[in-house]
């Protein structure tokens, strides 16, 4: 297989006396969908936070394209083409989808107006419309506040925003949790399309059939450690659940 895009080795993270990660490892290759699964409290969200720069691990190493990497903030990750769809979406509900998409990355007008910080709203709306179309987010209107959209549409906007900017890797923390059947299919479709563009997708999900249908590989966390790795094609829901609950273990167990 190709060289890992992002590799975490023996990460630990403690919050006071609570150890959320106890030597967790993780690997993602370019152009693959890896699912990260585990029971509640297994450390999935903490691991993603450490890998996307939201939190800093207490100890352990990160390798990005083979080189050591330290992430001080989400911006560090973004600069390297790593984006995250957060479980709570993290959109500004009063801004429209285009404004949300370009939040923190606004396009300014060219010339003196741009030096004054004047926005090129038309260009942003046009590009946002293109992105949303590309990633299958159906919106009736691009200039209504996000809060006026349904939960599913909001989620589509959050997903489209992240994948639009990701050039290397996207973390998706339960991107289908609040979605109906059609929209769920659409998000899964987006995940495959992003993968086909050569970008790695890390999917966190509790839905095992969904994990098996969309992933290339599955990594299992239990009690803050990686306990198993599977090729999605060669495994079953029973095996995954076994690894999550500790009935079955492969590696990293002290």
């Amino acid at each position: 297989m190709s060289e890992p895009l992002l590799e975490a080795r023996d990460l630990t993270k403690s919050y006071g006396t609570v150890e959320a990660l106890r030597g967790a490892s993780f690997t993602a290759h370019p152009g693959e969908v890896v699912s990260l699964i585990g029971d509640n409290g297994a450390g999935k969200s903490t691991l993603v936070k450490c890998l996307s720069g939201v939190e800093q691990p207490t100890s352990g190493t990160l390798l990005f394209e083979g080189k050591p990497l330290t992430l001080h903030s989400p911006n560090d990750a973004r600069d390297r083409g790593i984006e995250t769809v957060f479980q709570d979406l993290a959109v500004a509900p009063d801004l429209d989808p285009a404004a949300n998409m370009f939040l923190g990355r606004e396009i300014l007008k060219s010339g003196p107006l741009g030096w004054l910080g004047v926005l090129d709203k038309k260009a942003m709306r046009r590009q946002a419309a293109e992105h949303f179309t590309r990633f299958g987010a159906t919106l009736q209107s691009i200039d209504v506040p996000i809060a006026a959209l349904s939960g599913g549409q909001r989620q589509s906007v959050a997903v489209a925003r992240s994948v639009a900017w990701a050039s290397k890797l996207v973390f998706m923390d339960e991107p289908t949790a609040a979605l109906g059947v059609v929209q769920r299919e659409r998000v899964l479709d987006v995940i495959k399309r992003v993968r086909d563009e050569g970008i790695a997708v890390v999917l966190i999900s509790h839905n095992m059939p969904e994990v098996l249908s969309v992933s290339d590989r599955v990594e299992v966390l239990r009690l803050g450690r990686r306990v198993a790795r599977f090729k999605a094609a060669d495994t079953t829901v029973e095996e995954l659940v076994g690894a999550m609950t500790g009935a079955l273990s492969q590696e990293d167990v002290a």
Binding site: V54, A92, P93, D94, L95, V118, R125, F132
Partner: protein
């Protein structure tokens, strides 16, 4: 995907929400209509008194200072903050500017020239900016709620202003300043109103067309989301309070020009008037939405009510009651609208 074509066309720029629909969906239009209605009603009852040049001039000039304060307050409230200190900062800037002009003119600046006036403007704006910066730093760095920080500077700036001149008003405002900016007019429009109008227009452009404005909305709408996309929330909040303080300083200077004296009393409720104007104008007290144009309407509604009630012979004591009812109704409407929206 089969629906790709329809998606694209429904999102294209030509098919944005039609202008009319966008306008009628906005609070600003309705607030503007309320203002027009008030003017029309009072005008119909006493056209002779209302549409008099001097009445209108006076109404505008009196409102100019509050308008400048309210423009700054609009930014603050859109970030879901509040600034109670604006009136006190205005007084502090007004007193320190008048004293500074006096002290460089040997104790009395009445006959001073433009150099001294420019110095006075600088002192007013800088002293306002310093209070604004202090507010901003305490709110964004020390994470103290804006209500408490600005309640503190509300008292502190007023106290400092009283200390400066031992509690009395400062006279000696340059005649030149008063004749030009205070009582001067340009084609019948008081110059002080023109200054306020320019400040308001710049504020409106800053809020609606620039990145600074966009971040102001974003921080007020979802601070955590703004932080996650890499916006410096702390830096932005500091700048917003700095802006409000600077405008309060400018308003203090405008007050000096208009009243020919730096008054230490009479601004205790400026903060509440500015907040009322902003909220009346459709800016949400919960942050994230609002406009400077709405604030302009919000400033004039109480002012027109006050003048109008006096002119048609209703006791002016009804004015605060009328404003209170409109204000509470405005917030109630905003809240119901939000709740309905967030239930989707």
């Amino acid at each position: 995907m089969t629906n790709e074509k329809t998606t694209l066309s429904s999102l294209s720029d030509e098919q944005r929400t039609p202008l009319i629909k966008r306008l009628t969906g906005a609070n600003t239009l309705w607030i503007g209509l309320v203002l027009l209605l008030l003017v029309a009603v009072f005008g119909a009852i006493r056209p002779d008194a209302i549409f008099q040049v001097t009445t209108l001039q006076f109404l505008l000039a009196e409102t100019a200072v509050l308008l400048v304060l309210s423009v700054g307050m609009t930014f603050v409230i859109i970030t879901s903050g509040i600034d109670l200190s604006v009136g006190s900062v205005l007084v502090f800037a007004s007193v320190s500017s008048a004293m500074a002009m006096n002290s460089v003119s040997g104790g009395d600046a009445t006959n001073a020239g433009w150099g001294v006036i420019a110095f006075g403007l600088l002192v007013a704006v800088v002293s306002g900016a310093v209070w604004g910066l202090l507010n901003g730093l305490l709110i964004s760095r020390a994470k103290i709620p804006p209500l408490i920080v600005t309640l503190g500077s509300f008292g502190a700036a007023q106290g400092a202003a009283l200390l400066l001149n031992n509690g009395s008003n400062v006279s000696g405002i340059p005649d030149k300043l008063n004749r030009t900016f205070g009582s001067g007019t340009w084609f019948g429009i008081p110059n002080i109103v023109i200054v306020a109008a320019i400040v308001t227009a710049l504020g409106a452009l800053l809020l609606s067309t620039t990145r600074f404005g966009r971040y102001t909305y974003a921080v007020g709408s979802n601070e955590e989301a703004a932080r996650r996309v890499g916006i410096s929330v702390r830096g932005h909040l500091t700048k917003v309070y700095l802006l409000a303080g600077t405008l309060a300083g400018l308003a203090g200077f405008m007050g000096n020009a208009f009243f020919r004296v730096a008054v230490v009393t009479g601004h205790e409720t400026d903060n509440l008037n500015a907040i009322a104007a902003v909220v009346l104008g459709g800016t949400s007290i919960f942050g994230g939405t609002g406009s400077v144009l709405g604030t302009v309407f919000g400033v004039f509604i109480p002012a027109v009510l006050e003048k109008g009630l006096v002119i048609i012979g209703v006791k002016e004591f009804w004015q605060p009651i009328a404003v209170a009812i409109v204000l509470v109704a405005a917030v109630w409407l905003d809240q119901t609208r939000r709740r309905a929206r967030n239930q989707r």
